[in-house]
Symmetry: C2
Subunit: 376 residues, 2 copies
């Protein structure tokens, strides 16, 4: 998952030195709406408070696993080193549980009632990370070797399976009246995540002329949008919101997730490697069919033909600059930025439908801005 790699390899609180500071249009900026603090301090505070309330629940769930599975999971979450000694912990920004709690609050509920649901969403997220890393043969996550690289494929798959089970267990044991509806929604989301991962792995095996923009957008929605949407929907359910508001919150999260993925893909090509934590152009060198690349490939321009030519063979030294230029000249970058702004606008429309009061929507807005306004 491109989304996740970059997300977790960045500092949790990147200093903003993005397009806005350079006078460029902000793809994910809130058009004319209420803004989070421009330096992301507000989102940082929300994330920190969310972690403080959700981490104990999450850790308690992981600690409940039997010995060997617990060890793999504790390693994956960054709470232990591979040898079982305690580690400082770097389990990512945990944006999803923060979205659950912010959604509860936005709809007038009590955040503390939804801590288990927030932990369940984070468990599902980490189950998919464990499995995706095995399938994608990714060797690094959060600056450390991935679980399969340390413990082997079988153990990483089993640890992932257990985290999925723990997520459902948390909700099944939660006496909150919304817990069953939340569990059904989360389970359905898992199926969508799996379908997205299937499409992703299948797409990587296909030729550069053989992928449509609709397909790659649908894949990004399933892989990234679905769980962000589900997190927000679960928050709405726990606030006792009606069906319409729950769906609006889901759509808000989905569209924000897509905006996030678009920007993440742009960063993957044009981002500053010192900020992204990945070598410049790594996605292009791996011939990944990211969103700007597929937009470029399907643009019908001469640059598209050149890009397809480059993508038909594995990366050769010196290709990178030509590839970057081809994507840019074929309009891949502009398309992605316009799309991201469009998705973000749609996202905010959905939010304002369910939460018209900007003050109440503040937490969700800050988080949406945080994930979509990153250094480029």
């Amino acid at each position: 998952m491109g989304e996740l790699m970059t997300e977790t390899q960045q500092s949790p609180l990147p200093a903003v030195e993005g397009p806005e500071a350079r006078g460029e249009p902000v793809p994910g900026g809130v058009p004319g709406g209420r803004r989070g603090s421009p330096d992301g301090q507000e989102a940082a505070g929300i994330l920190e408070r969310s972690r403080a309330s959700v981490d104990p629940e999450l850790r308690r769930a992981v600690e409940s696993l039997p010995g060997p599975l617990r060890r793999i999971a504790l390693y994956h979450f960054g709470w232990e080193h591979a040898d079982g000694s305690p580690a400082a912990g770097n389990s990512g920004k945990a944006i999803r549980p923060a979205l659950v709690l912010a959604a509860v609050r936005a709809l007038g509920g009590q955040q503390e009632t939804a801590v288990r649901a927030a932990a369940a969403v984070e468990l599902v997220h980490n189950f998919t990370l464990l499995h995706d890393d095995v399938m994608d043969r990714d060797t690094t996550r959060r600056h450390r070797p991935t679980a399969w690289a340390v413990f082997g494929d079988a153990d990483a798959v089993l640890a992932g399976d257990s985290l999925q089970a723990l997520a459902h267990q948390l909700l099944a044991e939660d006496p909150h009246p919304a817990s069953s509806a939340a569990a059904a929604r989360l389970a359905s989301c898992v199926v969508e995540l799996c379908a997205g991962q299937h499409t992703d792995t299948a797409m990587e095996r296909r030729g550069p002329d053989d992928v449509t923009l609709d397909e790659v957008l649908a894949m990004a929605e399933a892989k990234t949008g679905a769980l962000l949407g589900c997190a927000c929907a679960l928050g709405a359910l726990y606030a006792g919101a009606g069906e319409e508001d729950v769906e609006a919150l889901d759509a808000f999260g989905r569209e924000a997730g897509l905006a996030f993925q678009l920007i993440d893909d742009v960063i993957g090509i044009w981002g500053d490697p010192s900020r992204t934590g990945k070598p410049a152009g790594a996605d292009l060198m791996a011939r990944k069919k990211s969103l700007p690349v597929v937009a470029a490939l399907t643009s019908g321009t001469s640059a598209a033909a050149e890009l397809a030519e480059l993508y038909r063979v594995p990366y050769r030294d010196g290709d990178l600059e030509r590839t970057v230029l081809a994507v840019e000249r074929a309009g891949g970058r502009d398309w992605a930025q316009v799309q991201a702004a469009d998705r973000m606008a749609r996202s905010l429309q959905h939010l304002s439908r369910a939460v018209p009061d900007p003050e109440a929507a503040g937490g969700l807005l800050s988080l949406a801005e945080f994930v979509t306004r990153r250094s480029m």
Copy 2:
């Protein structure tokens, strides 16, 4: 999972030509209690009726999956060929859903209220089969290539992930008052199944002198006993039984599962290949640390030393007879048969605690006999 391979590679309704017919003691026979019909007809009828009510729910759940995942799952269940054309279907005996329904009935509940729970248990079972086959590199299940052999590792893992999610979704959407307790119990069982599979894969990497009988029994309980116990416990929950009866039913299923595994392991060594569907001695040739083998290895006899010597190197032509004899002379076969009878006796004690009326316990007794009285 040794259990599962043999189970599913046998005809669903094997003619009984077992130890009883040969005048030998029946390891899994009901000692002095009410007997199922000696030819297994009663169990066959129970299994058939269970399938008739659970299959539509199971199939509906699988059909709800998005395209590519649905295709893999339909193939795995034997409902489609690899090319997507319809198949006659051979998805195993489906003993677990039958146990759920029989347990409901034994405790005075209405079977039809527990059809979703029964389907959920079968989905979990099949999720573990899909994943275990990937990890164990097993290439055949139910006389067909395994899902990973046809669709690749990633797709088999994703299909398994989706089946786990579907199981939890079925329970989360079930309005029955016991569904949350059942979901929590099933999730906890999944963790136990994963721990069992972890122990199994880890144990296969260890030397023949490095495995204790307690370990291998605990592993068999986690891999085989846990889900049979969970199936029975879910039935009790759906019948509205109290905590004590739920635990008794769990213990009944667990012990029956262990008896089943012991007999399955014996069949794996001394069984008739035309019945087991596996070449004679396949487990020994693969140097599997099955229950009779570990009993033999830890017997402290001279045959144990010989067996350990044989197990330290990969199988060589002509070894098989010596290996079989060593297990037998070291007491592995006798131990397994005595253990199986002992487990079955304990199993029935647990059952009679919760269901003292033999008439009410009839269905569960027939199923327990069916799984433990197989051709040897």
